[in-house]
Point group: C2
DNA sequence: TTGACAAGCGGAGACATCTCCGTTTAATAT
DNA sequence: ATATTAAACGGAGATGTCTCCGCTTGTCAA
């Protein structure tokens, strides 16, 4: 939970660890007060009493910071998903898909603002790489497995799109931009959204 | 073609019209030299020899400017689509959908950079309102009609998602973020992408 | 022609992102 | 203890977005 970096290389310097704490606390405080969207990296640096350079050394953008603030919840999400998939091993894959989607949507509701924060900076910055975040990579893998299983069972239509492609499309459909638009503009409740998205991708 | 504004109210002031021309020419020049992505509103203002305020008065962001530069092509796109739909009136709706998608993908390839420009500023700014652009609204309408028709024909699965929802998802799938990722990272050619997207949404 | 005035202009400036680099400092070796 | 050094710091500044507002200028009516 402590490892922002993969390489265990050497332990974090004391002052650095201190600053990391300061940043996370400051960000959390400001996010709660003003909403993720409204808070700038600058404000966070000031609130944490560090220079902008120090903040950017650790988090290249607000998205990475948001991701760090969600680490625990993401781990929990995947634990829940694993559990669910195991418990329903016997169900048809499209049913397990629905369960997975339900869990993800619940997660997305709980961490709505932070997730949006992640996605916005991710697409502003890297090579369109919201899709590279470990969160999405891991979900993608699970989805591909499920879709492949559906194909084999093959009660459904004869020619289906590639599972990788289909998983990509489903993840687009689950993005903040898509989900919040459906919820806030089209007026779908989370449950209705789940129903619709499942109908769109289950076969 | 001249109407950036809906209200015909009163004709454009002479100096304003002049500036509009200057802006469009400057933008086109810079976009060609450096690519849409790399050019800032600032540079455009300087190249057009006007103040930043003047530029922003006319175009609230780079996206609007890109849209204006594409106006003609968008009109042509819709003419092509209308023509195609009429000529294939007798074909099954899913076939007409494929034609429409092919036309859109061709358009998207031709105007790739500008379209990305539109979508990026649109989502950075307004209420997630890439979806509000007339381009997408009009496409959405056409898609809904086709999906509704497919439902009625009803050879396909019994319960389908709402056509509005499905059209929204399809448009997400056709966005720059999605399309360019598939093309550049997953390595799908435009033709393969068309095939896959059609398989995903035709039923 | 002239006067009035809405529309347009433009640049200063508020803020934001992000980088560069000289300085400081914690950790480790001696 | 002290020296060494890689890492971390911090803030100035380059560049960008976007707004505000006093000034200028077409346009139209008289």
């Amino acid at each position: 939970m402590n490892d922002t970096e993969e390489t265990p290389g050497r332990s974090e310097r004391r002052d650095a660890a201190e600053n990391r704490q300061r940043i996370l606390e400051a960000a959390l405080r400001l996010f709660e007060q003003q909403g993720v969207e409204q808070v700038s990296m600058n404000q966070i640096a000031i609130e944490a009493q560090i220079g902008p350079g120090t903040l950017y050394r650790r988090y290249r953008n607000k998205g990475e910071l948001c991701l760090d603030l969600m680490k625990e919840n993401i781990v929990l999400l995947f634990e829940n998903i694993e559990t669910h998939l195991k418990q329903h091993r016997a169900d048809p894959p499209s049913q397990r898909l629905k369960g997975l989607l339900a869990l993800f949507i619940r997660f997305r509701e709980k961490k709505s603002q932070l997730l949006t924060g992640v996605e916005e900076s991710a697409s502003t910055n890297r090579f369109k790489s919201r899709t590279q975040s470990p969160l999405y990579l891991e979900l993608h893998e699970l989805l591909v497995e499920l879709f492949d299983e559906m194909k084999v069972d093959g009660q459904s239509s004869p020619n289906q799109p590639d599972s990788v492609f289909k998983a990509d499309m489903l993840l687009m459909a689950l993005s903040s931009e898509s989900y919040l638009f459906q919820r806030d503009e089209r007026g779908y409740s989370p449950e209705k959204f789940l129903e619709q998205i499942w109908l769109t991708f289950h076969s």
